[in-house]
C-alpha cells in the first residue's frame, strides 16, 4: 500500500484515546467538540512494505547516530536532529559537511510518521524517500546511500544487524538503510503532555490562563485553521508573510500561487525546539505571536487563513503562550512510550462512492474516494474560500490543474482504467483516490 493510501485512511479512524463520555454527559464540557480534534491517535501508520520490527527500529536508531552515512564521516542525522535538543539543532540554519549554512531551518522530527509529505516544501512523500535527500545533498551529508551501503557492508556488526532487521533480504542496500531509518523515525511520537490529560477529561490539568489561551487559539487567533489534530498541524502549506525570497512549495510544484508557502509545523514540544519557522528567523514564542499580530508581508500569495488583523492584549498574549507551552514536556522530551507507538498499523482506505463531482471544501476532497465508469470524467469544484489545486502524478496520468480559485472547477479525464491518487499541491493533506473501471 502506498503512503498516500495510508494517510487518506487516517481521517476515517477513531483514536484510541477517548474522552470520558460519562463525565461529559453529567457536566457538559464546552470544549468537547474542540477536544475531539486533538485526541491522540491509537496507532502509527506505516507503509505495508515496511512494517516496523524491534530489530529494524534498533538498526534505524544506530544508523541515525552514525556519521558513516556522510561523505567524510563528520555528520550524522543526529548532528542536526539532536535527541538532546528534541531532535533539532537549536540553530537558525544548520551546517553540514561543507560548513556552509543550509538553505532552511532544521525541521522538528516529532510525529513525522503522520506527515504525508516531508520537508518544509513537501518534496518527499514518505519517510523512506525522505532519507535520500539529506544523505545526498552536497551541503548536508554529501554522500549517496549507495556509498553508505558499501561502507556499512564492510562492517560485520552491521551485516548482522541488517540480517536481523531484514531477514528476507538482508543485503545492506540503499533500500534497507532507508527502510530502517524510516522505521526508527516513525517512533519519534511526541509524548503526552498536560494538554493531552486535559483533552482526555482531567479538567484541572490546565490552569485557567492556559484554558483561556486555548480559547484564543481556537477562536480569535484562528491558529486552529492550520494547527489542528493531535500533532497540531494540518500538513498543508501556507505563505505566512515571512520576508525572505524562498519560493518554498511554489517552486517545488511549479505553482506561483503556492510561492512562499511552507509546511505547517507541528506545535508539539515547541518549548524545546526554538528558533521557529522555515528560516529560523523567530527566536521565541513571543516573536512568533508578534509576527502574526503584525501580519507579515502582504503579498498575493499570503494565506487567507491568516487573520487580517490580530490584536492581542498583554494578558491574551500571556494566556496564548501559556497554552502553547502545555504542548511541551516539562523535562527534555523523549519519544512516547505509549504501547500503541511500537505497534503501528497499516490501514485501508474508506470504501469508494460512485460520484462524478467532488467538492473541495474545508481543506478536504468530499468524497475522498470515488469510483468512475470507463470514459466518465471527474469534475472537481472548489467550494472553499481558499486557492486549491488538483495534482495527479502517476505513470498513467500527469495532471496539474494550476491555481484553482474559489468557485472554479476542473474536469479530469482518465486515460485508462486503474487507481489514481490525487492531491492538492498546496494542501497535500487533501487526498482523493479515484478508481476508474
Amino acid at each position: 500500500m502506498g503512503a498516500a493510501a495510508v494517510f487518506v485512511a487516517l481521517a476515517g479512524l477513531k483514536p484510541a484515546a477517548t474522552i470520558d463520555r460519562q463525565a461529559r454527559a453529567q457536566s457538559p464540557d464546552p470544549f468537547a467538540g474542540l477536544k475531539e480534534k486533538f485526541t491522540r491517535p491509537g496507532f502509527v501508520p506505516y507503509p505495508a512494505d515496511n512494517a516496523p520490527t524491534p530489530e529494524k527500529i534498533a538498526l534505524g536508531r544506530r544508523l541515525f547516530a552514525d556519521k558513516a552515512l556522510s561523505s567524510v564521516g563528520t555528520i550524522a542525522c543526529a548532528s542536526c536532529h539532536d535527541p538532546r535538543l528534541a531532535f533539532t539543532d537549536g540553530e537558525v540554519r544548520g551546517k553540514g559537511v561543507t560548513g556552509r549554512s543550509l538553505a532552511r531551518h532544521t525541521p522538528s522530527l516529532w510525529n513525522a510518521a503522520f506527515s504525508p509529505l516531508l520537508f518544509w516544501d513537501g518534496r518527499a512523500s514518505s519517510l523512506e524517500e525522505q532519507v535520500h535527500f539529506p544523505v545526498e545533498h552536497p551541503d548536508e551529508m554529501g554522500s549517496t546511500l549507495e556509498t553508505a551501503a558499501q561502507r556499512l557492508a564492510r562492517d560485520e556488526s552491521y551485516r548482522g544487524a541488517f540480517l536481523a532487521a531484514f531477514p528476507e533480504d538482508p543485503e545492506v542496500s540503499p533500500h534497507s538503510i532507508a527502510g530502517a531509518l524510516a522505521a526508527y523515525e516513525r517512533t519519534l511520537v511526541s509524548p503526552p503532555t498536560r494538554f493531552d490529560a486535559w483533552v482526555a477529561g482531567k479538567a484541572d490539568a490546565l490552569t485557567p490562563s492556559e484554558v483561556r489561551g486555548f480559547r484564543l487559539f481556537a477562536g480569535k487567533g484562528r491558529c486552529i485553521s492550520c494547527h489542528v489534530g493531535f500533532d497540531f498541524t494540518d500538513h498543508n502549506f501556507y505563505d505566512i508573510g515571512l520576508p525572505d525570497g524562498d519560493r518554498g512549495r511554489g517552486k517545488e510544484i511549479g505553482l506561483p500561487a503556492a510561492d512562499h508557502a511552507f509546511k505547517t509545523p507541528t506545535l508539539r514540544e515547541l518549548a524545546w525546539t526554538a528558533p521557529y519557522m522555515h528560516d529560523g528567523s523567530l527566536a521565541t514564542l513571543d516573536d512568533v505571536l508578534r509576527h502574526y499580530e503584525e501580519g507579515g508581508l502582504d503579498r498575493p500569495t499570503r494565506s487567507r487563513d491568516l487573520p487580517a488583523k490580530l490584536r492581542l492584549t498583554d494578558d491574551e498574549r500571556t494566556d496564548l503562550v501559556a497554552f502553547l507551552e502545555t504542548l511541551s514536556s516539562d523535562t527534555p522530551p523523549q519519544p512516547s512510550t505509549e504501547p500503541w507507538v511500537a505497534g503501528g498499523r497499516p490501514v485501508s482506505p474508506p470504501p469508494p462512492q460512485d460520484a462524478t463531482v467532488v467538492s473541495q471544501i474545508n481543506k478536504t476532497f468530499n468524497p475522498g474516494h470515488v469510483r468512475l465508469k470507463a470514459a466518465q470524467a471527474l469534475t472537481v469544484l472548489n467550494d472553499d474560500t481558499r486557492t486549491h489545486n488538483v495534482r495527479i502524478f502517476d505513470a498513467k496520468l500527469n495532471f496539474n490543474s494550476g491555481a484553482q480559485e474559489p468557485r472554479e472547477s476542473v474536469t479530469i479525464r482518465f486515460p485508462q482504467p486503474g487507481t489514481y491518487e490525487a492531491f492538492c499541491g498546496i494542501h497535500p493533506s487533501m487526498r482523493l483516490t479515484v478508481e476508474v473501471k
Partner: protein, 283 residues
C-alpha cells in the same frame, strides 16, 4: 552547589550589628508586603495571616522558610534570582573558555536547587515560568552547541527580567530590598567559598565557581542600585568598590588557583565592610 548553610565568622562585630538591624527592618516589611500583595490580587488574607502566626504563609514563601535564609520572601526571591544569574554568569565564563563539562553544573543547579524554591512565588504572582527554559538551556550545554546555547539564553534572560520586574513592584523602597538581596548573595558566596576548600586547598571547583558567579552578580546589583536615587555618599561608594576589588581577587579565574588568595575570615571581613558601607541604602 552546597546547601545554604549559614556560617558565622567571628571577628567582625559590625556584621552582627548590621544584620540584627536589618532583620528588624525586614520583619516590618513583611506586613506591608503581604498586605500589598493581597490587595493587589483582591484576595482575602489567608487564615494563617489573619492569626498573624506566620507572616509569609499563603504567599508562596513557606517553601523558602526551611533553609535558614532570609525570612522576607521578597529578599529571598531576589536572592535566588541573583544566585541563578550567578550560576549562568560563571557558566558563561566557562563556556567562553570552551570548558563545557565544567560549565554544565552551573546550568543544572538553577533548576535542581533554586527554581523549585522560587516556583510557588512565581505562580502566586502570575509570573511567566522559566523552569523549562532553564532546562532547555542546560540541554544546549550538554550538547555543547554554542549557537543553540546563545539562542536558548535569550528567553531565560527575558523571563527572569520580567519576573524581577513583577517582584520589584512589591519592593518599596526598591533599593533597600535590592541591596539586602545582594548582601544575601554575598553570604551565599562566602558559604560556597568555604565549601570549596579543605585544609586550605581548593577541592571543589564547582563551589569555587559558584561563589565567583555570586560575587560578580552581587557587585553588579549594588552598582545598579547605587546608580539610582543617591542614598549612598561618594565616600561609602568608594569603600564598597574597594572592598569588592579586594574580594574579587579571591577568584582570579573561573578555575581555582593553586592556593587561595583569601581565607574565609578575610572574605567575611570584606563582605561585612560592603554591608556596612551600603547600610544607608538598606535602612
Amino acid at each position: 552547589m552546597a546547601k545554604f548553610t549559614r556560617k558565622l565568622w567571628v571577628g567582625i562585630g559590625v556584621a552582627t550589628v548590621a544584620s540584627a538591624s536589618m532583620a528588624q527592618g525586614i520583619g516590618a516589611q513583611d506586613v506591608d508586603h503581604d498586605e500589598m500583595e493581597h490587595k493587589a490580587h483582591g484576595a482575602p488574607l489567608p487564615p494563617a495571616l489573619n492569626g498573624g502566626a506566620n507572616l509569609n504563609s499563603g504567599e508562596g514563601g513557606e517553601a523558602y522558610l526551611t533553609d535558614g535564609g532570609p525570612t522576607d520572601t521578597r529578599v529571598r526571591f531576589y536572592r535566588d534570582i541573583e544566585l541563578t544569574r550567578g550560576h549562568l554568569l560563571v557558566g558563561q565564563q566557562l563556556i567562553d573558555l570552551e570548558l563545557w563539562d565544567e560549565a554544565l553544573p552551573h546550568f543544572l543547579h538553577p533548576t535542581e536547587e533554586l527554581y523549585g524554591l522560587m516556583e510557588k512565588y512565581i505562580k502566586l504572582h502570575n509570573m511567566r515560568p522559566f523552569g523549562r527554559e532553564l532546562k532547555a538551556l542546560a540541554q544546549t550545554v550538554k550538547a555543547k552547541r554554542k549557537g543553540a546555547y546563545e539562542r536558548a539564553l535569550k528567553p531565560v534572560e527575558q523571563r527572569i527580567d520580567a519576573a524581577l520586574g513583577t517582584a520589584k513592584t512589591f519592593m518599596r523602597p526598591e533599593q533597600r530590598f535590592v541591596v539586602q538581596s545582594a548582601i544575601e548573595v554575598l553570604r551565599s558566596a562566602q558559604s560556597e567559598y568555604a565549601e570549596s576548600m579543605e585544609n586550605g586547598v581548593f577541592v571543589k571547583p564547582v563551589e569555587y565557581q559558584d561563589s565567583r558567579g555570586f560575587v560578580w552578580r552581587a557587585e553588579r546589583v549594588i552598582e545598579e542600585a547605587a546608580a539610582g536615587p543617591p542614598l549612598l555618599d561618594a565616600d561609602s561608594l568608594a569603600k564598597v568598590r574597594a572592598a569588592f576589588g579586594k574580594l574579587k581577587a579571591a577568584w582570579p579565574a573561573p578555575l581555582p588557583p593553586p592556593k587561595p588568595a583569601l581565607d574565609v575570615g578575610e572574605m567575611s571581613a570584606l563582605i561585612s565592610q560592603i554591608e556596612l558601607h551600603t547600610s544607608s541604602m538598606t535602612r
